[in-house]
Amino acid sequence: MTTRLFGSGIRRREDPRLITGQASYTDDIKLAGLVHAAILRSPHGHARITGIDTSAAAAAPGVIAVYTGADTEGVLNPMPCAWVIPDSDVKAVAYPPIAKDVVRYVGDAVAVVVAEDRYQAEDALELINVDYEPLPTVINPEAAMQEGAPQLHEDAPNNQAFHWVAAGGDTDDAFANADVVVRDTIIQQKLIPNPMEPRSAIASFVPSMGELTIWNTTQNPHIARFVTCLVTGLPEHKIRVIAPEVGGGFGAKIAVYAWDMVTAFCAMKLGRPVKWTETRSENFVSTTHGRDHVEYVEMAADSNGRVSGVRSVVYAGMGAYLSTAAPGIPTILHGLMYSGPYDIANIKADIYGVFTNSTPVEAYRGAGRPEATFLLERLMDLVAAEVGKDPVEVRRMNLIPKFENGHDVAIGLTYDSGDYEGVLNVALEHVNYDQLRHDQAHARSTNHGHGPLTGIGVSCYCEICGLGPSQVAGAVGFGGGLWESATVRFYATGKVNVFIGTSPHGQGEETTFAQIMSEELGVPVDDVEVIHGDTDTTPMGWGTYGSRTTVVGGGALALSARKIKEKAITLAAHLLEAAEADIEYEDGNFFVRGAPDNGKSIQEIALMANVAWNMPEGMEPGLEATTFYDPPNFSYPFGAHVAVVNVDPDNGHIVLERYVAVDDCGPQINPMIVEGQVHGGVVQGAGQALWEGAVYDDNGQLLTGSMLDYALPRAHLVPDIETLSTVTPSPHNPLGVKGIGETGTIASTVTIYNAVIDALRPLGVTRLEMPLTPERVWRAIQEAGGNRHDHGDGHGHSHDHGH
C-alpha cells in the first residue's frame, strides 16, 4: 500500500446499500408471524384517568390483545433515569411505561393494541374509551417552580427535579468590582429533534428459551439491553438488542423508551413477534425533545472588555419525567462549559431541573453545549456593545492563549489542546472581516435603515465531547461507563472483521474505522468489514452520542490494531529467523531492517497465525485483539464561525447569505465526512435560530405537532456552508482526534442570532426571542421605531433575580 487512506476523503462504504434501497431499517424488517402494535396516547397535558374501557377495541377485527397500565404494572418496572447527579437532590420520580392513574403530558401512553395489521391496530385505538378528569397544566419551566403552579409529582415539590450548582473562583467579588455588567434573559426554546426515521421496535420472545430479541432504532444498543433487563426483569444475557440501519438520532435515540418496553411486554405475553413504529405525529409528542431553558445570565468585565465573570440561573425543563440521561445535560454538559474558549476567572452555574407537562427532554445535538456557547457569545456581544468595541476585538482579548497539552479552567475542567486565536484568524481572513465591516458601515450610512440590512455574527466556541473517562462518569452520577471496546480479527485469508461496541447511525464510521485499520496495519481498506449494532456479536460499548464514537471507539480500535502489530512483529521475527528488535514495519510489511523485499506481509502473518503450523514457543494461535479503552480525558474541539445575514426591515424576513465554519477536530480521518458533519450541524443550529420551536398552548397541547407546523430547515432556505479547518491534535487519545458531530450546532445558533441582532442594532433592536420569525423581527422593529440608537444592549433587560 502506498496511498495513505487516513486523511483521505474516500467514498463511504455504507452508501451502496443506502442509495439502492437495500438497507434495512427496523420498520423494513419482517418476521414470520409478525403482529403490529399501536399506542393510545393521552390527548390531555395533565389529567386523572378515572375509567378505561377496552372491550370494544378488544372485539374489533384483527385485534389480538389490548393492554393498559393495569396490565403492565408490576410486570414492567418503571423506566429508570440513568444520570442521577450527586449532591443535587435528583427526584427520580416513578415513570411507568403505561400511565395508569395520571397522565402528565400529551403523548403519555395509556393503552396498547396489538393486531394482525397496523391499520386494524389503529382502528381499534379509536374504540378505547378513556375517562379523563383534566388537571391544570404548566409548560414553562420557570413558571412551574412558582408558588401555586400545578404539581406534577407528589415527591417533587415545586416541580423541582434537581438543583445543581457549580462554581469556580468568586463570582460575587467579580461582579461587585466590575466596570461593566451585562445581562440578558435567554429562552432556549424547546426543540423537536426529528430524525428522518421515526422510532421503531420489533420484539421477539422465545418462551422455551426465555430469550428476548429487540430490533430497535437506537444510538446505543448495549445500553438498551441493560435497561431492558432492568425494566423487564429478564437477565441481561438472555436479551439481544440489534440496532439495524438507524436513520439519524441527534440524541432522540439515546433514551431507552417506554414504548420499546411495552412492545417487548406484548411479545412476551403473546409469544409472537410484535412491531411498533411511531407515526411522525406520534414522534412529535412521544420522542424526546431538546433544550427548553429559561436562563438569566450575566457577564462582568472591565471597561476594556476583559471579562472577569459569568454566571447564570437556569430553569431547565425536563418534561413530565426524567428521560434516560436528561439531568446530565443542563448540568455537566452545560454548566461546566461556561468558560468556553475564554479565560474567565470566576464562573457560577445555578441550574434547576424542572418538571413540566410536556414531552420529556433529552440530549439534542450539542446537548447543553449549544446553550452554553449561546450565552457566552451573546454576552460577549453585549460586552462589546457596552464598551464600544468590535465584537471580535473583545473576544480576542479574552481567548485562552494557545496550548498543546492541557489547560485548567476555573470551573475545574482540563481542556486538552487549543489554538483559539489561530482558528479565529483563519475565519476572519477567509471572510475578509475588515472589508465586511467596511461594506456594512458604508451601506448603513447610505440606506438609512431601509433596504436589506446586513448583519455579521462572529462566534468562538470550545466544547466538551468524546465522552469518557469512566471515572468522571461515575463521579458525576452517570449510570454506566464511558469506555469503548473493539475487537480486530484477522482471518487466514488476510481479511479483517472489526467488531465494535459503538453504534454509528449516519456518521459513516464503518468507513472511518476501516481507514483507521488501513492506517495502523496497512491492510487494503476493502479487506476490512466493520460490524456494529448487535449486542450478541459485538463487544460492549456505551453508544454513539456526545461526539464520542471516533474518539473513544476509534481509540479502542487503534489500540487493538497496535496489539496485533506487536504480535505480528514477534511472529515475523520467528519466521524470518531474526531478533524482534531487528524487525521493522512499513505499510503492512514486516521485515528485517534493510531487507524490505524479503519481509512478511500482514496477510502472510495472518495466514500463519491462523493455521499455526510454525509459531514461536508459547504463542497462541490466531491474530485477534480486543481493547477496552477508557480515555484519560474528554476531547475539546473548537472553532470560529461567521454568519452574514440580510434582514428586510419592511417584513422582518431574514436571509442567511453566508455561513463560514472553521473547526479544529484534530487530525481528520476522512475530511469529506468531517465536512458533512459540519454542514448538517450548522443547518440544524440555524433551524433553532430561525425556524424551529415547540409551541404549547395553556392546556399543554402541542401546537407544532407536525412537519406542517414545526418548521424544519429546507434546501431553499440555506446557503452552501463554507468549511475550513485547522489541526491541533489532542494529546489525550491514541489518534489525537476530537469529536466533530455536534460542533456545527453548538456554534451556529448564536452566530446567526448575533448576526441578526447586529443587523438590527441601528434600528434599536437589541434582543429577540428565537426562532427569529419574520413576524417577531418585524414587530421588534416596529416597537423600536422612533427609538433608534446605537447602543444600549443589556439595559432595560435586567431582572431582579436574587443573584
Binding site: E197, P198, G247, L712
Partner: protein, 157 residues
C-alpha cells in the same frame, strides 16, 4: 373491501387485491417488499416516500394503491440498470450526498425527475426543486452538489 389492481413497478407487472384504503407506500413496502421507499411523516411534508408514477414524482404516502391502478411506478430499487448505478445514485455516493440514508430514496427520485425536466439546473433551481424533501443530516449542501454533478454527468454522457 378488496379491490383488484394491476400496475407495473420497476418494469414488472403486478396484479394484486388491496384494501381500498391501502396507501401506495404501504402496498410497495408491505405487499411487494420494496422497502427502499421510506415513510418519514404523515402529512406529505418530508418526501422520504417519493416515487415516480408515470414519470412524475409522487409522494406515495398521499396516494392510494388503487389510484396507481394501470400506472407505471418506479422506486429506488428500479433505478439502477444492469447493475449500473443511475448517475444520480453515483453522484450521491461520490459527493457524500447522504448520511443516515433515510431521506435518500426520496431525494434521488426527486432529483431524477428534476433533471429530466431541467438537465442544466442552477444550484438555486436544485434547492427550489427540493422544497418538498427534508433531510436532517446533510444541511443539503452535498445533496445540491450531487444533483449538479449528476446533471453534468448525464449531459456529458
Amino acid at each position: 373491501m378488496k379491490v383488484p389492481i394491476k400496475l407495473t413497478v420497476n418494469g414488472r407487472s403486478h396484479e394484486s387485491e388491496v384494501e381500498a384504503r391501502t396507501l401506495l407506500v404501504h402496498y410497495l413496502r408491505d405487499d411487494l417488499g420494496l422497502t427502499g421507499t421510506k415513510i418519514g411523516c404523515d402529512t406529505s411534508q418530508c418526501g422520504a416516500c417519493v416515487v415516480r408514477m408515470n414519470g412524475a414524482t409522487l409522494k406515495s404516502c398521499t396516494c392510494l394503491a388503487v389510484q396507481a391502478d394501470g400506472a407505471e411506478v418506479t422506486t429506488i430499487e428500479g433505478l439502477a440498470q444492469d447493475g449500473n448505478l443511475h448517475p444520480v445514485q453515483e453522484a450521491f455516493w461520490d459527493n457524500h450526498g447522504l448520511q443516515c440514508g433515510y431521506c435518500t430514496a426520496g431525494m434521488i427520485m426527486t432529483i431524477t425527475e428534476l433533471l429530466d425536466r431541467n438537465p442544466n439546473p442552477s444550484a438555486e433551481e436544485v434547492r427550489a426543486g427540493l422544497e418538498g424533501n427534508i433531510c436532517r443530516c446533510t444541511g443539503y449542501h452535498n445533496i445540491v452538489k450531487a444533483a449538479l454533478a449528476a446533471a453534468e454527468a448525464i449531459r456529458s454522457s
